[in-house]
Subunit: 132 residues, 2 copies
């Protein structure tokens, strides 16, 4: 199949498919006489795998490793689990950061009158978090 069909089958844009090939995440497929890329059914499965891994927040480098593990029928599940566990920890750090940001902003917004007076704890705190 051509790149457009692969795109429709996976939900990944043709632009992005070419990009993935460029950065070594997808193996360059054979070309037809007209130089069009020619994909097979395997490529649909691989690209769906990649797409889902990206949606789960794995970086492209990590996805490349995951694809390698996925292709290796003899890998130990422990390797994959360790990989996922590390990533979970990273995601949790990011969540905690964002929650801290949200809590700070929510506290400030709650203390802000929100009327047409100029006094504003939000800006005051941005200026000097230790005051007030």
């Amino acid at each position: 199949m051509r790149i457009g069909e692969l795109s429709r089958a996976t939900g990944v844009s043709a632009k992005t498919i070419r990009y993935y090939e460029d950065v070594g995440l997808l193996i360059a497929p054979p070309r037809r006489d007209n130089n069009y890329r020619d994909y097979g059914d395997n490529d649909v499965a691989t690209l769906k795998f990649i797409h889902r891994a990206r949606n789960l927040g794995f970086a492209i480098k990590d996805v490349a490793q995951l694809v390698a593990l996925w292709r290796d029928k003899d890998r130990a599940s422990a390797d994959v689990k360790a990989f996922a566990t590390r990533h979970i920890a990273e995601v949790e750090v990011r969540i905690a950061e964002l929650q801290s940001i949200r809590d700070t902003l929510a506290t400030l917004a709650a203390r802000c009158h929100g009327d047409d007076r100029p006094d504003c704890p939000i800006l005051d705190d941005l200026q000097d978090p230790m005051a007030g």
Copy 2:
């Protein structure tokens, strides 16, 4: 003061200070005879404000607006509050996305034996999330 001292006083690298000037977030300071940037105490306060706003996840464009509001002694606090509230909503969306990712990964990791057998629900799910 020179850029190095401003950097030390605010925790923002000299590189980043020049970058902020470049993108219009900081006003270009006067230069000394030797062409070195010459900052004053005001700049410490402004850059600290910017630093903190960035840490709270505001984009540079938004920080520029916040600085403008901060400088405008007559602005209505409602304007700032609306600004912050919009941003809180965005942060919460991002938190929800990450939590969904974490939950999915945690579920998969829990179902994975994590031994030296090749069977691995994590990879299976990445391949076909609807199965099993």
